[in-house]
């Protein structure tokens, strides 16, 4: 039963954001793992698969974009939501090529995290 619950990976270097997102997803009954950097996230991916990743773009070390590509190589079925603070973020071709759409990009500050939940559920349902 527990195994059927979707697993979400949240990567954000900002602690307060990451903690809040984890809390919100847990309250919505998701299995949530979080990482402070892309590199840490990749280690988590090697251990277990995830359904959806909520990824920050500006990260220390490897950035969000590269992480998504790497994660996709490891788990091609894994879906991604981008949650960035860059107002001028532009969805790269490489990400669009693996199925990311503008509506999967959320700009910070995100006032209502239910929107994020809704987007994740949609991706899992696919």
């Amino acid at each position: 039963m527990m195994e059927t619950w979707p697993k979400v990976l949240i990567i954000d270097d900002d602690d307060i954001i990451r903690v809040n997102l984890v809390a919100f997803f847990e309250d919505e009954n998701f299995i949530v793992r979080s990482a402070i950097s892309a590199e840490t996230g990749l280690q988590l991916l090697c251990g277990e698969p995830f359904d959806v990743g909520v990824i920050d773009i500006r990260l220390p070390g490897m950035d969000g974009n590269r992480f998504i590509i790497k994660a996709h190589e490891i788990h091609p079925r894994m879906k991604f939501i981008i949650h960035t603070g860059s107002a001028d973020y532009f969805l790269p071709e490489t990400l669009a090529a693996i199925g990311l759409l503008p509506r999967h990009v959320f700009l910070k500050p995100l006032k209502d995290m239910r929107l994020l939940i809704q987007a994740v559920r949609e991706l899992i349902a696919l």
Binding site: L21, D27, G85
Partner: protein, 867 residues
């Protein structure tokens, strides 16, 4: 002084026209003129003299003729005298007279018989004698062409003392009169009988037969011979002349019907026996009377004979002439001329005397018409004239040929020379005819002159060539100059800048087309006027202009503000001193830089926004994360105290706490309100940051063709639902007017952005109208939509309180707001401005009048934006 005009008149009329002719011709002309005058004078003198001479000859001739005429008249008289004298030699008359006197004492022989009636036989006897004498007289009358002839019996030896001439026979050209005594020896009661000449028929020799004639009584006897008794004889048939003293025939002039008549009388002597002695002696027994009328016919005959007009005058009064039939007596004047009919005559008069003593009886007059003389003179004059004319012509010709040879041919040669030189043949030389005279000298001088001219003209030609070249060069330069001038004028007038030239006194010297356009004053009116009069906008700069001229240093003033038609205009003014060519003055260049200033202002505005945008983009990430943390934390807090979440209840139970109590506590301590305060503040900060981020150059979604009317309606609906936000305005109380054009095509734009702009404007309008407290004014927003050229126009107009100019100018500035702190961010209009200007390449403007309203105007290009 007075002679002068006459002289000049003469010069003009006669001498000046001569200048056309050559010298030779002139001399000839003058000679001819002199000769002509001479001829005319001569003819006049000859004519007048000849006329006078002719008149003299005529008068002499007339005098001679008058003498002849006088003699002819005397001759006519002597004819009458001859007739009178012929009585004594006429046998029949003498016999009959003797019979009457001697044998028939005829009423008077016996004094005792005096006064007794006369017997019939004696009456008839006397009649017979009268008829015999009448027959003789009749033939004499006819023969001598006499007008009257008569015979009056007188008593010889005065036998009847008181008896006058009686038993008269008188014959004129009309009738025969005979008289008889009524009583013996008594001449009283004479009886007169008359017979017209046409009826007269003298009785034959057998008529006076006793048996036949005497059978009739005397009166019937007269009647038988067609005589009729008349009361008296005519005047001429009465003898009034003094015949007793006349021994010779006498003549005198009497008048009958105003015609002069020569009356001649003569007592005829016959042998009569003296009654005392009975001796026969020649005794006057009867007086014969002859009359000759000098009438027109007589004069006509005389005129024919003498070949001159004749007339007769009595005592200096002209009675009759051969010229006119009318008798118009006129006095003879002393100057020997008289007028008859319509002509004037010369006349000469000579007296006519029938006897040698006493005054002349008549005056013989001869006449000659003056006009004849005049005609004669004219002919003479003409002939003389002709003769003189020919003489003059011949002389003139002679002189002409002389002059021609001596003067004209050399002159002609000289003239040809002059003409040739005039025509350019400088080598022409004149042939010298006679080197000694003046013309010869002139000719050689001329040749010398020709040579000199020839030399000079070569030099002149040289100079001319140089001059021509210079002229061509000058013309080319002039043309260049003119072109340059036009070119410069074109440049000056084509310039959009106002160019004004002034002299040192500040008077306008140059005024270009732009200056005309700006001031509305044409260049010709502006020139020479004071600068401040024709360009009032420059009054503030006048000092600087003078300073520039004095110090010869350029001056520049930028963005000078002025108000034209309630609009702020900006001008740049440059004043350059004129220092070249000693021309004191300056040139002013004035540029209207209003639009440039506006663009600059707009660019500054945009630049400001861009810098804000850049700043926002730079810090967005850093700010958005904490804001996100705040907002998400608050959301998690709310969720984790919510009674709806199963985990919350479980967690509360785990620590032995009731969630409801927790919530009551939180409520009691107003924790929820603080949390909401955190959330609102976070959201506001997020809103500010996101608006600031709008100014950044970020990539835009594509434009899509949009129906603006639908967009506007949609926006109005959104606005209506937005009213309840903090109740600052209420859209339901605002009257919305839509003025949408039907034919607007779809406009390429980003609908959400345009919606955002319109919504912002509507909110501003609504808020502004809430601020005014005029209950009479219904708040109203007019929304207009139309196409204008290549743009779509959206207007949002309210009837709110409007804005002061200083506010209006700043409404698009970021962070500028008139609202209370917390009501607005001061970014709404800036963002709208940025969206329209930057994202859509459109424009956005605001007009506002305090207390009337505000209107925002947005233009969007119809052709899509150029990215």
């Amino acid at each position: 002084m007075e002679n002068h005009p006459a002289k000049s008149g003469f010069l003009k009329t006669f001498v000046l026209p001569l200048n056309r002719f050559g010298v030779g011709n002139k001399i000839l002309f003058m000679v001819l003129l002199i000769f002509l005058c001479y001829a005319v004078g001569l003819s006049l003198v000859i004519g007048v003299t000849s006329f006078n001479n002719l008149a003299l000859v005529t008068k002499n001739n007339l005098e001679r003729m008058a003498g002849q005429l006088s003699a002819r008249i005397v001759k006519i008289n002597s004819q009458s005298v001859q007739v009178a004298l012929s009585m004594e030699t006429n046998y029949i008359i003498v016999q009959q007279l003797q019979r009457l006197v001697n044998y028939g004492p005829y009423y008077a022989g016996d004094p005792s018989q005096l006064g007794r009636p006369i017997e019939d036989s004696e009456i008839i006897y006397a009649f017979q004698t009268q008829m015999e004498i009448s027959k003789q007289l009749h033939s004499l009358q006819s023969l001598n062409n006499l007008n009257c002839i008569g015979m009056f019996l007188i008593s010889p030896f005065n036998m009847v003392p008181e008896a006058g001439p009686a038993l008269a026979i008188f014959l004129d050209q009309k009738a025969l009169y005979v008289t008889r005594y009524a009583w013996k020896g008594n001449t009283q009661d004479l009886k007169t009988y008359r017979i017209e000449c046409g009826k007269l028929q003298f009785p034959g020799p057998d008529y006076f037969d006793i048996s036949s004639v005497y059978a009739l009584p005397p009166e019937e006897f007269y009647a038988d011979n067609r005589f009729e008794m008349v009361a008296g004889a005519p005047e001429s048939a009465v003898l009034t002349e003094p015949w007793e003293s006349s021994k010779e025939p006498c003549s005198k002039i009497v008048f009958r019907n105003d015609l002069p008549v020569i009356r001649t009388w003569y007592p005829v002597n016959v042998l009569v026996a003296n009654p005392e002695t009975f001796v026969d002696a020649p005794t006057p027994s009867a007086v014969v009377v002859v009359e000759k009328v000098l009438d027109g016919e007589v004069l006509k005959t005389l005129q024919n004979d003498l070949g001159v007009d004749v007339g007769l005058a009595f005592q200096d009064t002209l009675l009759i002439t051969s010229i006119t039939k009318e008798k118009s007596p006129q006095a003879l004047s002393k100057n020997q001329t008289l007028a008859l009919g319509e002509r004037n005559y010369y006349y000469q008069a000579k007296p006519v005397r029938f006897s040698e003593k006493g005054r002349p009886d008549l005056t013989a007059v001869t006449m000659s018409p003056i006009s004849e003389l005049t005609a004669l003179t004219k002919t003479l004059f003409f002939q003389i004239g002709m003769l003189t004319g020919i003489a003059v012509l011949v002389t003139a010709l002679l002189i002409y040929f002389t002059i021609h040879r001596i003067v004209k041919i050399p002159l002609q040669g000289l003239m040809n020379g002059v003409r040739s030189i005039a025509e350019g043949d400088m080598e022409y030389r004149v042939h010298i005819h006679s080197p000694e005279d003046e013309l010869g000298t002139l000719s050689s001088a001329f040749n010398q002159m020709g040579a000199e001219i020839s030399r000079k003209s070569v030099e002149l030609e040289d100079v001319n060539r140089h001059l021509r070249a210079s002229i061509v060069e000058l013309r080319a330069k002039e043309s260049d100059l003119s072109k340059t001038k036009n070119y410069l004028n074109n440049i000056i007038n084509s310039m959009p800048s106002v160019l004004v030239g002034v002299d040192s006194a500040g008077l306008v010297t140059e005024w270009n087309a732009a200056a005309e356009k700006v001031t509305g004053i044409p260049a010709e009116n502006a020139r020479g006027k004071a600068l401040d009069l024709v360009y009032p906008g420059l009054i503030s700069q006048l000092e600087e202009v003078y300073k520039t001229i004095q110090e010869k240093k350029p001056y520049k003033a930028e963005k000078l503000m002025s108000w034209v038609n309630d609009e702020t205009r900006y001008s740049d003014i440059m004043v350059y001193p004129l220092v070249t060519n000693g021309l004191e003055g300056a040139v002013l260049r004035i540029d209207d830089v209003t639009s440039r200033v506006r663009i600059e202002e707009m660019m500054i505005q945009t630049e400001k926004m861009m810098s804000v945008g850049g700043l926002a983009a730079g810090m967005a990430h850093e700010i958005n994360n904490p804001i996100g943390g705040i907002l998400q934390s608050v959301q998690n807090i709310f969720r984790r105290i919510s009674p709806d979440l199963q985990q919350n209840i479980l967690a509360a139970k785990e620590i032995g706490m009731d969630l409801g109590s927790v919530r009551l506590y939180l409520q009691k301590r107003e924790i929820f309100a603080f949390l909401e305060g955190i959330r609102d503040a976070g959201q506001r900060a997020a809103h500010i940051v996101s608006n600031m981020l709008n100014f950044s150059r970020r990539s835009h979604p594509h434009c899509e063709p949009t129906r603006l009317d639908l967009l506007l309606n949609n926006t109005l609906e959104l606005a209506a639902h937005d009213y309840d936000l903090k109740k600052k305005y209420d859209f339901r109380h605002i009257k919305i007017v839509r003025e949408f054009a039907n034919d607007l095509p779809e406009v390429p734009c980003m609908p959400t952005e345009i919606e955002q702009v319109i919504l912002n404007l509507l909110k501003n309008a609504a808020q502004a109208m809430m601020e005014q407290n005029d209950p009479l004014k219904t708040p109203q927003i007019i929304l207009r939509l139309r196409a204008e050229g290549k743009s779509a126009i959206i207007e949002v107009e309210d009837n709110g309180p409007g804005m002061e100019e200083k506010i209006r100018k700043r409404v698009f500035e970021p962070f500028f707001t008139t609202k209370e702190v917390g009501v607005g961010t001061g970014l709404g209009l800036s963002v709208a401005y940025f969206i329209i200007n930057n994202n859509h390449q459109g424009t956005m403007a605001v007009d506002s009048t305090p207390a009337v309203g505000t209107r925002f105007t947005i233009t969007l290009p119809l052709s899509g934006r150029a990215s």
